[in-house]
Structure formats: structure tokens, C-alpha cells
Symmetry: C2
């Protein structure tokens, strides 16, 4: 049933034409898009924000349980998340892809369907990239560009003692989704049994189809709220809050009972005898926003139902701690995902 067209039938330029034939630009700032040596972008009076990510097969994703369309979508999202984490609005992306000859044109089309869906969802233009064969494995490199009004960008180093620590959405779901899929993969490999993902669409979706929190950045603009520091949670809350503390030269206190956990995720964690709090602290790839605001802005963050206040910033001498439900105080440990081990 499935068609299989060898990419070699098109050649590099034929392939680029094929993949970009329906690519329309959405941003007035996009002056020159795909098809020249470089893209040209006009950011008069605004500052350009730029970020890049590498996604490698076998390290960042496993094609045995990752649909290519989802992978294309996620590749864009993880980069846009970095742009939002600067309090900027993404405007353009560049997508480079290297693939072995086992990848068909139809497979690439699936991947790009996800890429274009993410671009559409976030109003960004695909303005360039590179395509290549690889000897082995799928190689994805995405660069995202955004813009921000001067002095509105938010770095990691601006947190002050007594600032409130806030996080969007819910934590730990992507880690549990990964745990489930890896478990089912092992079962399939040893017994041939089909994956049992019954009732686990939330955690699987958190891993395979994450979202970038555009809505939070839009809320900041509406509410005229500028966080004192911000980053996105890609390595895990404990690892990432420690980055903010290090860059800002502060300490912090987090409250276990304030950590936003999803009920489905919690249930699955218990089933695996995992501590949901540990999953929320150390699980990565949630792509939620972690930020700090001054106490004067408490009313503004309280009004957004997607935001949880989970602790506060302290003087650096006070260290970095978690207060448990029972009232005990534990030093935070960075146990985030680390692709270089």
C-alpha cells in the first residue's frame, strides 16, 4: 500500500523544491526565505533572538516508537521553547536534516508535515536549512530566530532574593511517557507483545508531542509582566532552577506540595513505584517555563491558571532546598537528563 520513493530520484535540489513547495511566509520581517545562500530578516527597532538544537537518533529520540510527523513537530517546538524562554516571539526557523538511504521521500514528507504544522501553530516561517545524506541515523539540527522589544528579553541571571519561583503547566509527564515507551519497547523486543498504552495518552503525548508555552509569553505582554529570570525546563526542574540560582547568584526554596503534577502521571508513577515528586524534579523534556517574578507581581501570576508558584528565591548563602509535605528540608540535587554522560 505505502508508496516508497527513493530520494535519490529527486537529487538535492529537487528534494528541497519538493519539501518547500507549499512553504508560505507569514512574517513581514521575512524578506528572503528558502532558496538563496541565506535568509534575510528585517528586525528594525527590535532585537533578534536566536537559538539552536541538535537532535540525534539513538540519543534524543528512538524511531521505533516516535512517529516521524511528531518528531518533526517536536524538533521545531523544542527550539521555539528556547525563544519563548527569552520572553521573545519566534519568527523564523531553519531546519537541517541528514538521513541515511533507508529514509524514503514519504518518510521525509511525514517529518516535514510535522515541521510545517509546528510552524503554522506558532506563526513562524521556515526560511532555510540544509539537507544531506548521513552514513547512519537521522540527524536533525534546528535554529530558531525570534524578536523582542529592546530590554524586554529575560535572561537567567536576574532573579533576586524574595522573588517568587513560578512554573507553567505540569511537570514530570514527559519522563513518565519515556519510561512507559521504553518499557513497552523492551517487552515487545523480548516477547513480541504489542505495546499497552491504554489510558496513558497524557504522558505519551507529553513526550512525543510537547508544546511550547507561547500562551504564557502572550500573557506576560497582556499583563505587562516581565519576569526577573526565565528558562524552559528541558533538563528537569531541579537542574534548571539550579541554573537560574547559579547565574543569578542566589539560593532557593521549593515546596513539594506546590509542584504541579498531573493526576494520570501520578497514577502511572505509583504503578511503577516511582515517586511523582522525583519525576517532577528530575524528569526532563516538559518544555514548561520556569521563571521568577517580584512579589509585587504576585496578583498578576495568580490570575493565570496555567501558572503555579512553587517557591521563592533566597540569598545565595541559604543554599537550594526542597521543603517536603512533611515539613522536612532537603538539599536540591541536579539529576536532570544529561545527554553527555
Amino acid at each position: 500500500m505505502d508508496e516508497r520513493t527513493e530520494i535519490s530520484a529527486l537529487g538535492e535540489f529537487g528534494l528541497i523544491n519538493h519539501l518547500t513547495q507549499n512553504n508560505e511566509t507569514k512574517n513581514a520581517s521575512t524578506i528572503v526565505s528558502v532558496g538563496d545562500d541565506a535568509a534575510v530578516i528585517d528586525h528594525f527597532g527590535r532585537q533578534t533572538v536566536i537559538s539552536t538544537d541538535l537532535l540525534l537518533e539513538g540519543i534524543h529520540f528512538d524511531l521505533s516508537y516516535t512517529p516521524l510527523k511528531h518528531l518533526g513537530y517536536k524538533s521545531i517546538i523544542v527550539n521555539l521553547s528556547d525563544i519563548y524562554a527569552m520572553n521573545a516571539i519566534p519568527t523564523q526557523v531553519l531546519m537541517s536534516i541528514g538521513f541515511s538511504n533507508r529514509v524514503s521521500l514519504e518518510a521525509l514528507d511525514d517529518f516535514y508535515a510535522g515541521v510545517y504544522a509546528a510552524c503554522e501553530e506558532h506563526g513562524v516561517d521556515l526560511v532555510g536549512g540544509d539537507t544531506s545524506t548521513s552514513q547512519k541515523g537521522l540527524v536533525i539540527s534546528v535554529t530558531a530566530i525570534g524578536e523582542v522589544a529592546p530590554d524586554r528579553f529575560v535572561k537567567r541571571n536576574g532573579a533576586q532574593p524574595n522573588d517568587l519561583i513560578c512554573v507553567s503547566g505540569e511537570l514530570g509527564g514527559a519522563f513518565l511517557g519515556l519510561t512507559l515507551l521504553e518499557r513497552e519497547k523492551k517487552i515487545f523486543e523480548t516477547t513480541g507483545a504489542q505495546p499497552d498504552l491504554e489510558g496513558q495518552s497524557y504522558i505519551v503525548g507529553r513526550l512525543l508531542k510537547p508544546e511550547a508555552r507561547k500562551d504564557i509569553i502572550e500573557y506576560f505582554a497582556e499583563a505587562d509582566l516581565k519576569p526577573s529570570s526565565m528558562m524552559d525546563i528541558s533538563d528537569g526542574l531541579s537542574s534548571d532552577i539550579m541554573h537560574i540560582c547559579k547565574e543569578s547568584n542566589t539560593g532557593c526554596v521549593l515546596y513539594e506540595d506546590k509542584l504541579p503534577l498531573n493526576e494520570d502521571a501520578k497514577a502511572f508513577a505509583y504503578q511503577l513505584l516511582l515517586d511523582p515528586t522525583a519525576c517532577a524534579l528530575s524528569g526532563g523534556e516538559d518544555y514548561e517555563l520556569l521563571f521568577t517574578v517580584s512579589q509585587a507581581d504576585y496578583e498578576k501570576v495568580k490570575n493565570n491558571p496555567s501558572v503555579s508558584v512553587i517557591g521563592y528565591i533566597t540569598d545565595v548563602t541559604e543554599g537550594k532546598h526542597l521543603i517536603t509535605r512533611a515539613g522536612n528540608k532537603h538539599a536540591l540535587v541536579a539529576q536532570g537528563w544529561n545527554h553527555i554522560k
Copy 2:
């Protein structure tokens, strides 16, 4: 003698700190550099130009004869070349690298020494990137950003009939360097004989340590000369002039006796029974600039000794031809390097 430090001893963030500890910003437009979710760049009143390239081991380079420092240098240069090819000045780069556990910290240091040398040479700031392990092979992805005054950028689609076709430097050297190194590699593999590169430093250097033609872009600014179209020669002259003709909807005539060939390169071509003209037409990776100017600008290009006028643009109906030394007319064939075969 040689030290070998495992990268795992540092971890990802330790590695990034190590690789960027001497990284100083050179451009006033670089507001936020390495170390946050994204870099922030101020391009008030100028347009941002952006380009990206993927370089994969076994496809784009062979570590058996490519020193890592040269590879780092070249990875930056090939991207800057794309920025110059837009008539823009590069200002920032992002470098992503994926490497297997056979790569030591000392090897990465060599690679980054080349990266920083290229940045220094071209006055660009390294403002971001990504590091990751890979399952197999070295993966390099570079994104370069540049700036250009509004309406000074040069695309591929502006060539007009009667415009002069010009090229900087000399052509075919990198292809001959590759041919030599591949030959010596095969000899080494079968006989164990050490490579004989005697007298071939020119062609080997053209492949392993190419330059991007900043000087030509600076000359355009000094001479107040704006080419009607431009691109850099990465796939080979015949393939690349055909891109300009396709995008500009024109034909062209090239003259064999005007093609700029290096004497050392010619001598080596003859030694291999290769036609130096074919090497100049189809050899890639020279990273020279190919551009067109109106005839009124002839005096301006004539004054630059690095520029050769090699032909002219025709109406599209006249096709794309090479006039040989003997006065024969041949249709041009695109036989450039093609990484997707």
C-alpha cells in the same frame, strides 16, 4: 605524551564552560551570547542574514586526513561564505556538535581552536550552539548570522542579459586536493605507504583550509559596486552558474580561456590525466564568489586583481554554454558535488 581527558569527566555544562571560557564578543550588536536559552542580537536599521550548514563525518569530511583544527575552521568558513554571498557581513555564529565517546576533550579543544581562529579572522562572535553525544560519527551544524544595510543584499535572481559573469580567486583546487588525499588514503590502506603530498600544499590547503572572500565584499563596499546576483561556489562553477540562470531566468556563456586556474593545480590535474577545465567547472568546495555585474561596472571589477570576468549572461532562450579555447560551443552540464546521490 598526548593527554586524553574523557568528556564525561566534565558533563555537558562543564564542557560548555570549558569550550567557551575564552570566548569574547567582538560585535556591539551581540547583547546576549553563550549561556542562556538563546542569544540576543541588536540589528537596528540593518537587516539580519542567516544561513546554516550540516557537516557529517563520512559524507562531508574524512577524519583520517582532516586535522580537527582545520575542520573547526572550515565548518565556520563554509557558513560565513554563504553570508558574504548575500553581500552581507557576518557578525555571529552558533556551533552545534555531536560526538561519540571516542572523541577526547583534547580533540574537541583542537576543533574549537579552529572554530575560534575562524571567528577571530572574520570578526564574528560565537553566541550559542548545542553539544551532544552521538552514537556514531562526528556531527557538526553551524548557523551564521550577518547584517546588511537595507536593499544592499544580493540574491541569485537578479542577473540580466549582457551582465558580466565574474568569479573571485581560482577554481578546481579543492577538488584536486580531495582527489589527491583520497588517492593517498587508498595507497596507505593497501600498502601502508605514507602519504606523498610533496609540492601539493596549494591544492591540499584549498580543501582543508578554505577561505571565505570577505575581501571581495569589502571591495564592493569601497568601490560602491552592487552585483546584480551572487552566490558562493560550493557545488562547482557549472552547477552554481546554472542556479543563477535558473533563478534569474537567463542563459549564459562562459569562456574556457577565462577560467582562473592555479598553475600547481593544473600541473597535478595533468599528472592524473584530468582536464583542468573540467576540474574548474565541476569541482566543488572552492568557496569563491560567483557574481554578475552590469557592463557599466566593468572598470570597477577590472580594478580588483582577485576577480576574473569569465563570461556573460544571455537571454534564457539562448541556453547555457561554454566556448572552448578552440572556439567550439558546448552546452554546460551541472556535474557539481551532490551530497544526495
